[in-house]
Amino acid sequence: MSIAERFSTAGRIAIDGLSIHLGSGPDAFEAVQALSFDVTPGEFVCILGPSGCGKSTLLGALAGHLTPSSGSLQVDGQPVLGPSPSRGMVFQQHTLLPWRRVLDNVAFGLKMQGIGKAERQRQAREFLGWVGLEDFAGHWPSQLSGGMLQRVEIARVLINRPKLLLMDEPFGALDAQTRSQMQELLLEIWGRIQTTVVFVTHDIDEALFLADRILVMSPRPGRFIEDLRLDFPRPRQPELLTSAEFVRLKRHCLELLRHQDGRQLPRLTPLGLPLENTQPRFAL
């Protein structure tokens, strides 16, 4: 049985009147406001918007790390109540466990399911092969480059066969060339499995290259100001980036983002507000 067959059907997202408040007391604010949209199973959706607009907040709520203050959020008819392996999350910076070798990091989800060591390592090797890193199974994460770390991260999430793949600017910290390689790799993998992807980015090129559909968000409080369907044929090649239709849509998106006022907002994360540098509470 191939891996692709083992993936269950992709998830359907139904969001209605979703608002999320962040912060507490007088600093509390509405990060996203009255969002309503549906995503059909297997769709590749990009959420495009300026920094701090609440797109990562929406992703955090889909993952189950943030609780909505009003509205409903359902995946396959079930309300989202907390994190689940069926909704895989990839952060901008990798979150591999530094004390586990690459292979054991990938096998982590299976270990949590109680699957035996030999079987989970066999599957982990298979998924590492998917992202082209089978030769790095025995390395520590600290020995890998940024692009390789994100590949491992993707393999680690996919091993749980998620119905939903949530990605928070996963290639935002990579150099331009690595980023475009990663985009092609992601499309290739997505072509082989049935999973819905929600991909957050502020990079217009990236959104246009990857998505079936782009939801453009306004600055805080985040609302959708455009729902754009793309029908570029797949598999997509880098030549697409210079085609006339691509450039026309890019201009359209630039226009949408430019019309928004130029306030610079601090970046939000899928876990809420960014942490301030906390000082240790004890003198040691």
């Binding site: 689940s84 982590f108 040691l284």
Partner: protein, 265 residues
């Protein structure tokens, strides 16, 4: 020879020279009965006298019993402290509730010096052996506890969120993420705690009737055998340093992914 080993050789000769210089100064100052006004070496035994006293101790049958008694006390007090402190530290670091419940009394107890515990220790424990172990326990407890709490609180919360998304429950997060994440800090605490446990040994063995390096030192003081005092002090110093180093080494082997930055210059 490669540059690296030349460098290493130079560093080791510097270390050795520093030790020899200190010894040399001590010998000269003690021999000349040097009086610097604020501090005087008039009654300080010279290194040669100390070596003679050490030789006498090493040739007596008492040394193994002194050593074994002290090692046993430090080891029991330290192990108990390590278990209690790591468990408490994990709870306090993970839960606000445990923090509010446990931290206030611990913060009150923390500044109390070991010597002040002696009367209570004698009252609370049935045997003097247990009272002594308790004193070495108080010495090791707080460095390990505070370093554990600090380590647990500085674990990246994204790692915890990510593990939850991959299906980890509360216990699995503690075992797979929090404990290894805090491990380097816990190892630091364990190594400091080993030192402070020895630090309290003389205090603890003031209670003892007969055996122990701390007792030997204390007895030498009451009998005014100054050379013996210094032998006792140095023995405690060397044993403390060796056991701290051992803990640090074991800790490094247990955290192979963690390599602190090298110091330069």
């Amino acid at each position: 020879m490669s540059r690296l080993s030349v460098d290493l050789g130079r560093r080791w000769s510097l270390r050795l020279a520093s030790l020899l210089l200190c010894l040399g100064f001590w010998q000269v100052a003690a021999r000349m009965h040097l009086d610097l006004g604020l501090v005087t070496f008039r009654n300080v035994p010279s290194p040669v006298e100390v070596v003679q006293a050490a030789w006498a101790l090493f040739n007596s049958h008492a040394l193994p019993r002194h050593l074994l008694s002290s090692l046993g006390r430090v080891a029991s007090g330290y192990l108990a402290a390590a278990l209690v402190a790591v468990a408490l530290g994990l709870a306090i670091g993970r839960s606000k509730w445990a923090e509010d419940l446990l931290l206030p009394p611990l913060e009150v107890l923390r500044p109390i010096p070991a010597v002040a515990w002696i009367p209570l220790a004698i009252l609370m424990f049935p045997s003097s052996e247990l009272s002594m172990i308790f004193i070495t326990f108080t010495g090791a407890l707080f460095p390990i506890l505070l370093n554990t709490v600090h380590g647990v609180e500085s674990v990246d919360r994204r790692l915890i969120a990510s593990a939850r998304s991959l299906g980890a429950g509360r216990l699995a997060i503690l075992r797979e993420v929090v404990l290894p994440g805090a491990a380097p800090s816990i190892v630091t605490g364990l190594s400091i705690g080993m030192g402070t446990s020895w630090f309290c040994l003389v205090t603890a063995e003031m209670i003892s009737g007969q055996w122990g390096i701390g007792y030997y030192t204390w007895e030498a003081y009451t009998l005014q055998n100054y050379a013996d005092i210094i032998v006792g002090m140095l023995l405690i110093g060397v044993l403390g340093m060796a056991s701290s180093g051992l803990v640090k080494r074991l800790g490094t082997r247990l955290t192979p992914w963690y390599r602190p930055q090298e110091k330069h210059g």
